[in-house]
Symmetry: C2
Amino acid sequence: MRVEIWSDINCPWCYIGKARFERALERFPHREAVEVVHRSFELDPRAPQEARPVVPLIAAKYGLGLEQAEAAEQRIADNAEAEGLAYLRSGRDAANSFDMHRLLHFAAEHGRQAELLDALYRANFAEERSAFAPGRLAELAVEAGLDGAEAARVLADPDAYAEAVREDEATASAMGATGVPFFVLDRRLGVSGAQPTETFTAALEQAWGSRTVVPLVAVGTDENGGGDGGSDTGSDTGSDTGEVCGPDGCAVPQR
Amino acid sequence: MRVEIWSDINCPWCYIGKARFERALERFPHREAVEVVHRSFELDPRAPQEARPVVPLIAAKYGLGLEQAEAAEQRIADNAEAEGLAYLRSGRDAANSFDMHRLLHFAAEHGRQAELLDALYRANFAEERSAFAPGRLAELAVEAGLDGAEAARVLADPDAYAEAVREDEATASAMGATGVPFFVLDRRLGVSGAQPTETFTAALEQAWGSRTVVPLVAVGTDENGGGDGGSDTGSDTGSDTGEVCGPDGCAVPQR
C-alpha cells in the first residue's frame, strides 16, 4: 500500500500531521507493507528566496498585531510539542521552498527521501540555524545520505526536478486539495489536514481492506492464447490475446 | 499515476507484454506523470538454482515431444521479434528467480530498478551467456548503475529483500493474479496478460481519467482549527481538528 503525503516544508501542520500519521503507522499491523511518498505542494510559490522571520509574516497575513501573531505561533509550537516534536520557540523563518521540493525528488531517486524530509523539517522547525542559510540544503542532503556534489549540482540547476514538483502540484490541484498536509492512500482514499492519529488509523484500515479490489480491463486468455479474453477497447487489430505464464507454464501461441 | 507490473524474469510473456505496454506508454500524452514499478512474482518458487535448458522443461511441463516444445519456443520467439525484441533462438535456460527479484528491490531503493529489469530481461532472453551464470547478477547490477560490492552483499544474504519479494507475491495472490504479467494502474484498474498495445492504451486512459477521484475520510476544518471537520472514526479524543496550511496561511489553534 502506498501513502502519498502532499506537504510543504514551511507548513507547521504538515510537520505535526506527519507525526500523527506516523504514530498511526507504527501501530498499524501491516506497516511493513506501507510505502510513504512525499509529494510537493508549495504554500507560496511566489515567496522570496531570502528567509524572513515568521511572526511578522503571520501578522501581515492575518492582519494581526505582532503580539497576537506571536501567540499564534506559540500555540502551534504547543501542538507540535504535544506530539513530541522539537519546535524552535523563537526566530523561526520562512522562504521559498521550491528548491527543497526539487531536492526531495532527487532524494527519492536515490532512496533517501524520508531521511531528507526529516532533515528538512528538523532544520526548519527545530534548529537555530536557518534551513535557508547559504549552503544549508547541500549540507542537509549529505546528512540524509546523499552525495553532496550531486546534490549541489541539482540545487544549482533550477530546472532539475522542477517538472516533478509541478506535476505533484497539478495532481493535488486536480484532487481538489487547497491546503496541506493532504494524505492519499493508494489513490483511493484521502485525508485532509493534521487529523488525530485515530483518523489516520481508520484510513489505513479502510484502504487496506479494499486494497485488492482491482477490476480488470481485460482478462487473460487460456493456455492456447485464444479464448474469450477480448479487450474492451474495440481494438481492430484482430488480436484478442492476453497471454500469461503461470505455475503450469506459459501460453503457447498457435501462430 | 503509478503502474505496477507483476512479472517473472523467466516469463517470456512478461518480456513481450512489457514491450507492448511501453509502446502504449510512449504514445500516452501524460507519460511523464506515469511511474512504472516492478513487482515480484515467481512462476516456480521451487525451481532449482542451477540453470536448465528451456525446451526440455517445456516438453516435460506440457507432456510434449521435444520437437513440439521447440516449435512452441520458436512461436514465442516470433511474437517477441514482432515486438522488436531480441530473442535467443536456441539455448535459452531457466532457473530460480528469487535472487533476481531480491536484487530488483535493492535496485528500486537506489533508483535503478528499470535499468536492472531491462538488463535482466536482455540477459535472460537475448544473450548467449546465461543470466544464471556465476557472478552474472552482480555484473548486471553494475551495468544497471548499481554499486557492485553492495549488490554482491545483497546477493550473498538470502534474507536481504526477501520479505519485499514475498509481500509482492502475497499482494498479487490477494488480487487474484494467478499468472503474469499482471498490470495494476493506481491500484484501481488491472490488466492481465500480454494484451495488445491498444488495451494498455485504453487502460492508461481510463485510469488517468479517474485518477483524481479520491473520497476523503475526513475533511479539513476552517482556519480557526475548529469547524465541522469531524472524523468518522468515533474517536473519543475530543479533538476534531484537521488543521491545514493553505495559500492564505495556517490554521491557528485556539488552545
